[in-house]
Point group: C2
Chain length 365, copies 2
């Protein structure tokens, strides 16, 4: 039997465990012990389902299981897809004691979680993330939602899962580009709170790219531990602490929206966004040029884009960033770096300096 690592997200009555281990998605007991009713609905997509649905179902061996298979892609993270899920849940007479199981990456997790938040005003759900990005980030913390043509994740809810089952074995079938996109968020944890982890990543990036078992397990654990701590301190993103997890995201969302969803992967946009945040922090005199270089080099070593896409003007960037959820009373708020391992949230943003920083970055080759 595989060893299962267990971490807990401490949220009082909404606390839940994160299980990490190879081959654990077929361990039905994990799912069974976290689904109070007898109806289960697995929601997956047409890429992941052929790979892992059978193992998952075999493990459960339950009477009432429905499956809903969605098309693959961020463009389906929409209200229309949500309606499709509601139609199927109602047609299958799913009651309030149903448990929804998200089997897939961040898109499946976010939309399944949001469906669970809204179906009959809230039902149970379990995250079974199958991408690195989802395992270290989106499956933990209860943020759920869908996109709107005018902005990413604009419609959603905080709805905590009953548990997260992160099977590291699923990473073997992950396209290299998506593995790298997940590593962007792993690097993020080092940058915002954990300098030793950042230094560890500098040394171990080649091992992570080869999915060396001990290294990848350690990176996932360390990432989830960091995320769980931040979420426990600020579940609903009210104190500003949780907003630190958005390092690179305000820039990144602008890239994703500006280029059209799906052109860049979320992690790719965040990687570039973190370099932009580091560069802007340097222009403010908070960190040095050498540190910006370290950030950029580590991300590049993870095969991530670190250059600002030339298609987007600084004007367009600022316009898109003004739509960001972190805008408060009309003021743009950004997560920036005081050091590697120390991020802060600020609403004192010099827009002229930001504009010139973006312009110059976009001109760099």
């Amino acid at each position: 039997m595989t060893e299962v690592q267990t971490l807990t997200v401490n949220l009082g009555s909404r606390s839940y465990p994160i299980y990490i281990g190879e081959g654990i998605l077929g361990q039905g007991k994990l799912i069974k012990s976290h689904s109070p009713g007898r109806q289960l609905v697995v929601i997956s997509n047409e890429v992941v389902a052929p790979l892992y649905l059978e193992s998952l179902l075999k493990g459960i061996n339950q009477a009432e299981i429905e499956t809903i298979i969605l098309p693959d892609g961020e463009q389906y993270k929409s209200i229309a897809t949500l309606e499709n899920i509601f139609d199927q849940l109602l047609s299958a007479h799913c009651s309030r004691d149903v448990t929804l199981i998200a089997l897939g990456g961040g898109v499946i997790g976010d939309i399944t979680g949001f469906a669970a938040a809204c179906y009959q005003r809230g039902v149970n759900f379990i995250q079974v993330p199958t991408t690195l990005l989802a395992q270290v980030d989106s499956s933990v913390g209860g943020k759920t939602g869908v996109n709107h043509p005018l902005g990413k994740n604009m419609i959603g809810a905080f709805h905590q899962p009953n548990c997260v089952i992160a099977d590291t074995g699923t990473l073997k079938t992950l396209p290299p580009r998506e593995l790298s996109a997940g590593l962007a968020e792993v690097v993020k944890y080092g940058l915002i709170t954990d300098q030793p982890f950042f230094l560890w990543l500098e040394k171990n990036m080649p091992r992570l790219l080869k999915l060396e078992p001990d290294s990848i397990t350690y990176a996932i654990e360390q990432s989830c531990r960091c995320k769980a701590q931040v979420v426990a301190a600020d579940e609903l993103e009210q104190s500003g602490q949780r907003a630190l997890l958005n390092l690179g995201h305000t820039f990144g969302h602008a890239i994703e929206t500006g280029l059209g969803y799906g052109k860049w992967l979320h992690g790719e946009a965040v990687a570039c966004g973190m370099v932009m945040a580091a560069e802007f922090s340097a222009r403010l005199g908070w960190i040095g040029a050498a540190q910006v270089k370290k950030v950029s080099a580590l991300l590049a070593s993870a095969r991530l884009p670190v250059k600002v896409p030339k298609e987007l003007s600084a004007d367009r960037f600022l316009e898109l960033m003004a739509l960001d959820k972190k805008v408060k009373d009309g003021k743009l708020r950004l997560v920036l770096l005081k050091d590697i391992g120390k991020a802060i949230l600020t609403d004192d943003v010099d827009l002229t300096l930001l504009h010139s920083t973006i312009t110059e970055l976009a001109q760099t080759d």
Copy 2:
């Protein structure tokens, strides 16, 4: 200045006041003291807005106010309308510190509350109910949502308002049929927990129908007090206590869905549903025929329908009731009466007896 009655819904950090009084929707300070950001969006419909929007806006005198006017009717309590609201909020660059103000009846309150629950994962909202039904029931307690073709309120969230402003003056423009529909819920509170209030209603129904000020204020206060207590004891409908508020609703929802939304008003369907629940309770030997008659007579004196619509067969009733949110692990759960003033939730429902009870009620003239 009008006297304002204040009740509190005790929900820890989510506690909020209910203000009751004549002409209070124009008192801007109530709204201002409960909206933390500077952006306000009033959501109303094309029937209510011409009557009360101007007074409300005049009271606020705020810089950034948007208004969204929806068409009137339960058929617009849909995901499509929700999308329309999201489009307008995003186009107006509303950020996470926006406060949505629901000015209207239950449909406006439910859909505005759900929009507030989901917009950017949750923003503030204020209920300004303008129907009796909304003032005594739907605006209090945080249930929000929209309908689905396969069932009422199937998609939604628990999202508590920042405050409720119940202006009794708005009832003067309420169509008589809607006043009666609101009285159905008032009677419900007497039936489920408060026999003295039921007896008071038997004596004072004519005064309520004439909107005699002291009587109507007392009825609203007493109803809100009952609702606030039940909600405080069981915010998320988990312990079964809150489910008592659904007396008559499982039958009522079947009527509404079966006849098509909007044919009967919600309160009318609930009135008939309460008579059905009382009759079924009598068949179980829990209450006597005289008590059923008292229930039916009080509701009839409020000009409410107490006869089962002949268009719906008992088979169709049971089919629709099986879709109810109170179904748990495949078992129908019903709120029934042990006495006037004492409701209980049971999942021990004899479907054969229920079928014959409905069949016989439908044959009664």
